[in-house]
Symmetry: C2
Subunit: 228 residues, 2 copies
Amino acid sequence: MDPSCSCELCELRELFVQNLDEENMEIICSGKVEKEYRTGEIIVKEGTRIQDFSYLKSGLVKLYRSDPSGREQIITIAKPMDYVSLLSVFSDKKYNYSVSALEDSVTCNLKMEDIRSLIHKDGKLALNLLGKMSRVADTIILESLEIRKKHLRGRVAYLLIYFSETVFYTKEFDLPLTRKEMAEYVGMTTENVIRTLSEFRKDGILKIYGKTIQIANMDSLRSISEFG
Amino acid sequence: MDPSCSCELCELRELFVQNLDEENMEIICSGKVEKEYRTGEIIVKEGTRIQDFSYLKSGLVKLYRSDPSGREQIITIAKPMDYVSLLSVFSDKKYNYSVSALEDSVTCNLKMEDIRSLIHKDGKLALNLLGKMSRVADTIILESLEIRKKHLRGRVAYLLIYFSETVFYTKEFDLPLTRKEMAEYVGMTTENVIRTLSEFRKDGILKIYGKTIQIANMDSLRSISEFG
DNA sequence: ACCCGGATATGATAATTATCATGACATGAC
DNA sequence: GTCATGTCATGATAATTATCATATCCGGGT
């Protein structure tokens, strides 16, 4: 039993450090399970009963919903230290979205029951979780509003900036999404995502080498995202 | 001091009933303040510091964001017993949306500090709030995804059904939104909302008398919302 | 009563976006 | 290696939606 929880960056642990004594720490950690997933693997299936409280330890995953017609909409992308099971985790018995791995990923799963009883005992932890949930929900909602009011070029620009500044912290990175997935994220068609990327390339804003994207002119991209 | 909290339907009180002893009930209720607003009045201004935990006692309000350019986007509509200050209330110090009254409304405001200290003491209350927040955030996010994938007719149909089945519980009601606000809610232009309503009227789906809407053919409307 | 501003309404046109068609290219199965 | 499948790519066209122009209607203020 390792009360330091073994995952060094673990945000959950950060929460615990502020609040939990050794005993409670052990309760959580003794039930902790890590799970590995390969790129493309499904981590959570819509409609499944929620059993774990889980967050992403490494990799990248998408949260999405799929139509009866088969079309998918990506709700958000979770990166390491984001919760995988945050939405609806404390409300319903079932996931109302699916999760799958965009890259090889490792999740950290805690027993829902342990978390519940901990919150029950420890109000400070509850406040932290409430705060965190507020932020996550807010972010998703506000981003969705932002995207909705943009035109195609603005949406693609927004997405590229998002990856560059929020996920990878560099101007050159491998796109973790296919063009189809990018389209599903920002609500447009695959063809138009491709076309828009081509335009950006022709305009010298991007350099594209297969899956690798290099943002050559961040200022232009930003201005397209905001105004164009 | 009235520990029964005077607002009979109060959902918050429902939460409390399960969890709070008389003493805690009094803490909350002694700090409780009701505020009245006239139609059109602004209840919360984006960027303001969050001071209260408040919910709607009666009336109807809209939560919305406004651009630098002046355009507004409606995030959601809160009806009695919905929280007015739910989003971001536990996370940031400032509201990132505005709230204004669509009808004459009364809010019930509790002191943030009281709620915090209560949660701190009472884990069961925290679990209830986490559950409620999950549900609210989920609903907003999923509705926004639903709306996004529909065409104009589908969006307007969706909105009308929403009012009919979720807010007013009748097929004939007074629209609490102007056409402009309807447009801001579902992400389309005012002209197209008007046009679409006219089409519905011509098709015999709606009867429109000024602000009063009567849904004459709910089946058609539903099928337009889902498929058309 | 009148005027005024905003909301409602409708048409014509322009802009945006989706759909359909086609082909190149890559990658994994065999 | 070849084949097959899916992604990437681009053009032509159709559909959808926004913009602009204009007119009517209605309620509040004087």
